[in-house]
């Protein structure tokens, strides 16, 4: 059981890293892009770059605030 937990934690840390909100934000942004493209017929190529700027900015802000 301990081995499985360690294995899962390793892969979580490997893929998600320090800030799970970034991974969650990317998933939400991709879901919204797919929804706009396939649901509303909007070519939402611009949504992901905007999300990247916001997610990186917020993640950096959290890291800096936490370090103080």
């Amino acid at each position: 059981m301990k081995w499985i937990r360690s294995f899962a934690l390793f892969w979580y840390d490997f893929v998600v890293g320090d800030d799970w909100r970034v991974a969650a934000g990317v998933a939400v942004a991709l879901g919204a892009t797919a929804g706009l493209v396939h649901g509303a017929g909007v070519n939402a190529w611009w949504l992901l770059p905007v999300a990247v700027v916001l997610l990186l900015g917020l993640s950096l802000r959290r890291a800096v605030t936490r370090a103080r």
């Binding site: 890293g17 320090d18 800030d19 990317v26 493209v37 070519n43 990247v52 890291a63 800096v64 370090a67």
Partner: protein, 262 residues
């Protein structure tokens, strides 16, 4: 994406990880047993090569759009991790990775550990230390080689970039017989973070169904735009750097410095 960009991205990512793996192997070899340390390194490299050989063709069977969505999302999350840490290090909010310090700690720990071997391995500790170090540092490289290679339909070209980096770092490491403390790891990590984020954004948006204006040429805008964003973030965060912070006194110009695994 041209083959040159693919090879360069994999080369940079692999070189960063190879420098860190070299530190561990040097510590195991010099303080314990060179033969066992090299056996551990070889075993880890074989494991990584088998992983690439198995995953490459398997991932290649997935339809391109689904592959680009999944691979792009993973690369984007991965790239943002690299970029975030590189920015924090370059701006002085996170301590720079000290390769010489890491080497000294590994040597001290290896010297204090008990000896003993099994079968053809005369020093199990040196073998395990090298194997674990090379395998863990190499996993990120495998991830990048497989995802970049399959998305562009050129795993061999990605492998070429990885092998070139390992050969270059090993060659320099053997020549100086010391950890490569002067390699600008953080600058390399910054560049790789930008490339992974740019390709991740491009591929995942395509996989979600969006069409980029200018098709592949959009990458020529995305990459410099992300570089500017990163450099701007470094400049901004440097203004708020705490006095006597983690990297105070390093004088690392943005984003030059050294980093470690994200």
């Amino acid at each position: 994406m041209t083959g040159v960009v693919l090879v360069l991205t994999v080369f940079l990512a692999c070189a960063v990880e190879a420098v860190e793996a070299l530190t561990i192997v040097l510590a195991a070899g010099t303080s314990r047993n060179w033969r066992s340390a090299l056996q551990g390194t070889a075993a880890a490299l074989v494991t990584l090569a088998v992983t690439v050989a198995a995953l490459g063709p398997a991932i290649g069977l997935i339809p391109l759009r689904a592959l680009r969505l999944a691979v792009g999302a993973l690369l984007l999350v991965f790239g943002l991790q690299w970029l975030r840490k590189a920015i924090l290090r370059a701006s002085g909010h996170k301590a720079l990775h000290d390769e010489a310090g890491a080497y000294a700690r590994q040597v001290a720990a290896a010297g204090a550990a008990a000896g003993g071997g099994r079968g053809v391995v005369s020093d199990w500790y040196a073998f395990t230390l090298s194997f674990k170090g090379v395998l863990l540092e190499g996993l990120e490289v495998v991830f990048i080689v497989v995802t970049f290679g399959t998305s562009q339909g050129s795993v061999p070209l990605a492998v070429l970039g990885a092998v070139a980096a390992v050969v270059a770092v090993t060659g320099v490491g053997l020549a100086v017989r010391a950890p490569l403390a002067r390699v600008p790891e953080n600058t390399m990590k910054f560049a790789v973070g930008i490339m992974l984020t740019a390709f991740g954004t491009f591929w995942s948006a395509e996989g979600a169904g969006a069409a980029w204006p200018g098709a592949d040429a959009a990458l020529l805008v995305l990459i410099p735009a992300l570089a500017l964003l990163g450099l701007g973030a470094v400049a901004l965060l440097r203004r708020t750097r705490p006095p006597g912070g983690p990297a105070a006194g390093t004088g690392a110009p943005a984003p030059v410095g050294k980093g470690s695994t994200p």
